[in-house]
Amino acid sequence: MSSCGSLAATMPQVNTIKPQPRLTLQSQLDELARLWPWIEALTAEYAIPAGTQFAIQLCLEEAISNIIRHGYRGQPDHPITVDYAMPAGTDELVFTVADQAPAFDPLAPSAVKETPAATSIDQLQVGGQGIRLLRKFAGSLAYQRLPGGNRLTIGFALPR
């Protein structure tokens, strides 16, 4: 453990009030079952209100299922990591979802097809709602292309 100090010095500086426990999922939809218990534990730790917990679950499920289906194109056994942090001096719980998939920016205008409002149930797109929901329910959203993957940062303000 003596190397921890030098390792930490090389890591990006993120001030957190807690160590970052990481959830690592494989790129299969059934892995999403592990998300809810993880969020429930966080809810207890941070006294997250029910509505915010709902939004966290929704955004993480949509972001991760999107990576599995579109980023990794349904291929199993690729990693997806979810970290959380509460940057010092803020009331925002920030989740970082990272993958090693080809570039995909869910915040790009082209990611959500601007289709006219459906006028019948037959026209309603059953796919493609995930990014719309992500944009609506996230407090803040940021995308970063990494050398070998993608990083999506999703923040939620917590009450003081």
């Binding site: 709902f54 939004a55 679950q57 299922s65 149930i121 309603l124 329910f137």
Partner: protein, 111 residues
């Protein structure tokens, strides 16, 4: 995820969903929802006890509703919580499948 059905007056089938309509919950009710949608022409989907709804859960509502509509039937959504209703509205489903919070009004909308 629990699913139960009840036949109401006026040939209305009420299907009550109970639990989390996440990816697992959606998978758990899909088959039964499709069977119900295959035989009902007036379908009331009771969302009162749905504590979570994601896009996979939306699919489990929209596809059966589409099947009922395609046979000339009607579908209404009943009593979603505030957050679930917000998901439905963000997806634009409320304009196609009416949302009601009063049971009598919901049933009347199916006649």
């Amino acid at each position: 995820m629990q699913i139960s059905t009840e036949e109401l007056a006026g040939d209305v089938t009420k299907v009550a969903l109970d639990g989390r309509m996440d990816i697992q919950g959606a998978a758990a009710v899909d088959l039964k929802m499709n069977i119900i949608a295959g035989s009902s022409k007036k379908l009331l989907i009771d969302l009162e006890k749905v504590s979570f709804l994601g896009s996979m859960g939306l699919r489990s509502i929209v596809l059966p509703a589409r099947a009922v509509n395609s046979r000339g039937g009607k579908v209404v959504l009943y009593a979603p919580t505030e957050m679930v209703e917000s998901v439905l509205k963000t997806a634009g489903i409320d304009s196609l499948l009416p949302i009601h919070h009063d049971l009598a009004t919901a049933i009347a909308a199916l006649q």
